[in-house]
Structures are given as C-alpha cells and as structure tokens.
C-alpha cells in the first residue's frame, strides 16, 4: 500500500467539513479520515465532536466500537483473513496454524510496519474459500504457500490466477 500522509489538522478539518452535512455523518467521516491518513488519529476526535455537535465521549465511543477503525497505521501489506465457518470447512484454521509454525506469524496479533494480518468473519466468498482480502483485493482458494507468499508481499493478482488454474 502506498504510504499515507502524516497528520494534518487542516486537511482533517477539510474532510470533516466536507461530510458533516450528511445525516449521521460520523461513520462516513471516520472512513474518510482512515482512507486519508491510514488510521483515525486521536487528534481527530475533538474536531469531529465540534463539527457534529457531539461530545468527545460519543465520538470516542463510536470509533472504538467498530473493528475497522485503527488507532495506529497498518502495515504496508494488509491481509484480512476469513476465519468464519465456511472457510473453516475448507481448512482456514490449518492455514493459520501453518503460518504460525513455519513463519512465526500469529494471525491474531501480527501488526507491524511491514505486515498486518487481521481475522475477519466472512468475505462473502464462501464457495471458493479459504479467502482473504489482500490490500482490498479478494483472493480465493488460498493455500498455505500462497498465503505465505502474500505475507511476503507477493502480488495479490498472481495469487488469484494460481487459484483459477488450480
């Protein structure tokens, strides 16, 4: 993923101002801020509260309720690995175990500058699992080798093609 710009209060105010007229603007604003800066900086909380006439506690409450909103930047490669029932039926837990045993990567806690692996529950690709969303690209029919490759920064598109040819 391309690196994101550093926090800039002026830019944040601009984003918030551009969306604050929406009905129920909080989530659209939080998504827009995260798209821009890569995470929701705590410094945005009072700005949102002021713009939407909410308390800071209400805004903080909303930010922390949702799994999506990050309080620090994600890795350059973000893998959202599905671990819900349909992918379990196709061995996603085996992929998680192998990732830990062979590469020392713990899907639940791997989150550094290079690589973030997040557990998600269902990507809607239940007939072609195991699946992952890799930097926003959906990859189906994952196996341990291709998942390891993706963790090393391999192209998501290539991983898709191997799946198609399998």
């Amino acid at each position: 993923m391309p690196s994101k710009p550093d926090w800039n209060e002026g830019r944040a105010r601009e984003i918030i101002g551009g969306l604050s007229a929406l009905e129920g603007a909080t989530l659209p604003i939080l998504h827009a801020l995260q798209d821009e800066f890569g995470f929701v900086d705590a410094r945005a909380t009072p700005l949102i509260a002021e713009a939407l006439n909410l308390s800071r506690a209400e805004v903080h409450g909303a930010i922390t309720f949702y799994h999506d909103f990050r309080s620090k930047p994600a890795g350059r490669r973000v893998i959202k690995l599905c671990r819900a029932e349909a992918c379990q039926a196709n061995g996603c837990e085996d992929l998680v175990t192998k990732l830990r045993a062979r590469h020392g990567l713990d899907a639940d806690s791997q989150d550094d500058e290079r690589l973030t692996i997040e557990t998600v529950y269902c990507l809607g690709n239940c007939a072609l699992g195991p699946s992952a969303l890799v930097d926003g690209e959906l990859v189906g029919r994952l196996d341990a080798d291709r998942l390891a490759g993706l963790c090393d920064g391999a192209s998501a598109e290539k991983a898709q093609i191997v799946g198609g040819a399998a």
Binding site: E23, H67, G124, C126, E137, L138, G140, I161, G164
Partner: protein
C-alpha cells in the same frame, strides 16, 4: 464484421480466482490475432466452481467456458471459441446447463446476464416495470400487493413484509425512511453481495417502490465494509440512476421524490441486527435497541422506517411487474416465492441456487453441489449462518421452508448452507459459536455479553472431561438463559448451533473421557 461479444464476470468471487487477468489476456490475444471482440463485464451466474467463467455470444446461444486461466486463452482462440468451438473447458450453452435449468431465477434473473451498470440493459431485460406500475398505484395498493404475494423478510426472521410496510404506511410523520440492510455478515451467505454487484438497479428499484408505498422520500443502503466491490457497484449505480431520473426529486418524471445513499459499515457483525444498524447509520455505536418501539414506528432518527434485507426489497419489483399471484404461486405452505440459496463450505459445486421453497437440503447438496469438495462424506451442514443449527446427514431430507426448519429446531435464515465433511470437530464448532458471540456482542445485555464468555469456558471444560455431567448441566442452563433473556437474536440464537451440535454429535464432546478410558 461486428465484434463478438464476450461476457466475463466482474463479481468479487470471480475476481478472487483471476477474472481480471483472464479478461486482460483475452483482450491481448484478440488484438494479437486481429479478432474484433467486445468484452462485457457482468455479474456472476453463480456457478462459482467454474469461475472465471467466460461466455461467448455465438449462433447457438451464450456458450460457457470455465474455469479459465490466462494460460488457457491461446488454446481457446485456437479452438475457435469465438464461434462457440469445442474445447476441454467448454460447458455448453448456459441456458441448457442442468445447474441453471433446474433453478427458478426470479430475483437473480438478470445477474450474470447483463452489464450491471447499464440502465439500458436493465430496461431491456424487464427492469423498471415494477416501478412504473408502482407510480400508477396508491401506496395502499402497493402494500396490498406485497402482502398478497406472501413475501416474508429474507434477512432471516421471515416476518411478513406487507405487514411491516402497512405499519409504516399508517404511521403519521413528516419524514419516513427506507433502509436496506446489506450488512450480510452470516458466514455462508453471499446472495446480497452478488445481487448488488450483478444487478444493483434492482435493489434501487425495490427501495424506490418501498418509498412510494409508504411515503418515504429518503433511503439508505447499509453495506458491510468487507464488501468493497459491492459498495462501489451500489454507489456507481445510484449515481447513474440519479442522473437518469430514476432517483431524485421526480422519480421517472412523476413529480414524486425518492433519493438514496449507500453507507459503509465498519466491521461489526451486530450491525446486521436492524436496531443496531439504525444506531450505526445515525453515527453511534452499533448497540441494539430494545423493542418496542418498533423501527416501523420509531426507526432511523426516530422516524417511521422500513428496514428490509436486500433480497426482500429486490423481490418487490417483480411482484409489482408480474402481479402478486405469480410470486405467490411459487413455494409451499406459508413460505411463498423463491429464496436464493447459497451453497458454500466444503462442497464440490458451490454457488447461488435460486429455488422455490420446498426443495430438500439433499437435493441442494448432492444434486446441485455434487457432494463435498474433499470427496469425503458429508457429516454436518450449518444452515442459516453462525446462529443457525448444525444438521446431521440424517436430516438432509428436510424441506427447505421456514416452518419445516422451525419444526426441527433449525432455521433457514438468509439461505446460507455450509457443508462440512467428516473431519469436522463439532465440539470445536460449538465453542466457535460462543467465541464469535463473545467477540461480536454489542455488550448491552448480560446474557449475551457474559453468557458467551462463560459458554466458551464451559465447552472447554466439557471437552477436557472436567466434571462433565455437571458442566453439561451448566451449558444447558446457560443456553436456556441466553435464549430467553437476550435482547436480540445474537445472544438469543447463539445456543442454536451449540445445542444442535451437542444433540446430533454428542460423541465429539466425549473425546477426553474416551481417551481416559482407553488409557
């Protein structure tokens, strides 16, 4: 010579196995050979094991080839696939394929057929007829048509849609809303996603009709963030519909207003629960509301609101266009119409199967699905998402209708069917049901928030053989409490997968004592 039309899905599932690369390879190969082609990106037909599925418009119909990899493209051209030529990947004309012919495609009639973002295609294939009818009818007449069709909420609860609409119609308010629940979080379900990506105008048309029916001028479709492709498709379609006058201050020139926005969720399963979804749309934590008041009377921003699943709203245009009786003629008992079933997990031929109610699970899993992908025997099937029951192979002859499933302590839910082979450990699946509930609970009510955590611990003790009988008693008690005392279906239905696993697969909860006895 006019270019040959080639159809390649742009659906996320097809993309996940390389549809973009295939489209690019075909374009490049065509230009290398000087062949004139027109590549149309469509939704997916739902034969997901054949993705990427490429269709060519030939004299004998649309001929399908799949699963195609970029490496196959040169040989497809060599085999004359542009005129439907024979090739090892050739599947025949799509319309003649058994898998398609045995379905009743009402809601999914256009998905995989048309360019999802072409309003002309949509109209040419019967789109907007329902909306035109609705504009000529009174709100009460539209609501009556929906009631007469027998349509029940496709999100899982199965509440009669017409009754919900009648409540909103009769409510007095200056502002009313239509909210489309596209927070399709249940594992094993992907019909909403496929429909939004493959025929987004149908969702828009259904919402506009709902707005006209009850006097709501504003709609929201709330889409989960795990579906970025569907969100982009809906946003683009809304934009096109607005520019074409389908949405806006004067719907199709009628002088009556309806407009809508797509909103993105943020990774919370609970927001698929209607009141939690409304809180989220208002910009708050997705915490469940107590009912009453019903959302139909005090919904979004406290105003009367229709909250319906994507598939419920998408069924409405054809009910208006073809008449309610045509829809009600499908189905059995009190389950009228069709349900797009989603076949996933460990299954050979997974995908989207739209059927009238009344077929059996066995027909779906064996007939359509062809058994497991692993080739091992089917051991358990979870129907209706993470809150649905696990059924053993002996219950596969249960008819797919709401009442028949309720009678065996299960539910159809949103029509998701997840197949497991005999390598599954059902005690672990029961544990996962609690773990998932603990992670995704909104935390408002105690039975769900605390019960789920206690559930994980109790299953662990049972599996470890610690005071087994006593802990089975605790589990039973806990399940009863969660069922009776939870505020919404999250805590209330988590016991369903747990108890069904325990009832049908007790041996998996006994492993520790068996090991001990063996030693």
């Amino acid at each position: 010579m006019s270019p040959v039309r080639i159809f390649i899905p742009g659906d996320a599932a097809a993309l996940s196995v390389g549809a973009d690369a295939v489209a690019r390879a075909i374009r490049a190969e065509a230009s290398r050979r000087g062949a004139s082609v027109d590549i149309v990106r469509t939704g997916s037909r739902g034969m997901l094991w054949l993705e990427p599925l490429v269709e060519v418009e030939a004299a004998q119909g649309r001929i399908a080839y799949g699963p195609v990899s970029p490496h196959d493209v040169a040989s497809l051209f060599d085999a004359g696939f542009l005129s439907g030529g024979a090739h090892p990947l050739a599947q025949g004309a799509v319309a003649d394929l058994d898998w398609m012919r045995r379905q009743t495609r009402v809601t999914f009639a256009r998905v995989g057929v048309i360019d999802p973002l072409s309003l002309d295609d949509y109209r040419a294939h019967g789109g907007l007829k329902g909306l035109e009818r609705a504009l000529a009818a009174s709100g009460a007449d539209i609501v009556e048509a929906v009631r007469a069709s027998g349509l029940r909420g496709r999100g899982g609860a199965g509440f009669p849609t017409g009754i919900k609409w009648k409540t909103v119609l009769d409510a007095e308010a200056l502002q009313k809303y239509v909210v489309c629940n596209a927070d399709e979080g249940d594992s094993g379900t992907f019909a909403d996603r496929m429909l939004m990506e493959g025929d987004p105008f149908l969702v828009i048309e259904g919402m506009a009709i709902a707005g006209l029916a009850v006097g709501a001028t504003k709609g929201f479709v709330y889409i989960r963030s795990e579906y970025p492709h569907a969100f982009r498709a809906m946003c683009a379609a809304i934009d096109i519909a607005r520019k074409a006058g389908v949405l806006g201050a004067s719907v199709l020139g009628s002088g009556r207003a309806f407009d809508m926005e797509a909103r993105l969720g943020a990774g919370a399963y609970i927001c698929g629960e209607e009141t939690s979804l409304l809180e989220s749309l208002e910009g708050k934590r997705g915490v469940v509301r107590a009912k009453p008041p019903l959302p139909a009377l005090q919904g979004l921003f406290g105003k009367p609101t229709i909250v319906n699943n994507v598939l419920s709203l998408a069924a409405v245009p054809s009910i208006l266009a073809e008449g309610p009786q045509a829809y009600a003629d499908y189905g059995v008992g009190r389950s009228r119409g069709t349900l797009p079933f989603q076949l996933g997990g460990n299954v050979k031929r997974g995908g989207l199967v739209e059927l009238a109610f009344g077929a059996t699970l066995r027909d779906l899993i064996d007939g359509f699905g062809g058994g497991t992908r692993s080739g091992r025997p089917v051991r358990a099937v979870q129907v209706g998402g993470p809150l649905g029951a696990y059924l053993p192979a002996s219950q596969l002859d249960t008819p797919l209708d709401y009442e028949a499933f309720a009678a065996i302590g299960a539910m159809l839910g949103h029509g998701g069917i997840v197949v497991f082979d005999d390598s599954v450990d059902m005690a672990q699946q029961a544990r996962f049901a609690f773990k998932f509930c603990a992670k995704e609970s909104c935390g408002k009510c105690t039975p769900c928030r605390i019960g789920a955590v206690r559930g994980v611990e109790t299953v662990d003790r049972i599996v470890a053989g610690v005071e087994r009988e006593k802990n089975l008693g605790v589990l039973d008690d806990l399940n009863q409490l969660m069922t009776d005392g939870s505020l919404c279906a999250m805590g209330g239905l988590t016991p369903m997968p747990v108890m069904s696993a325990l009832r049908h697969f007790p041996e998996d909860f006994r492993r520790a004592s068996q090991r001990a006895a063996a030693e």
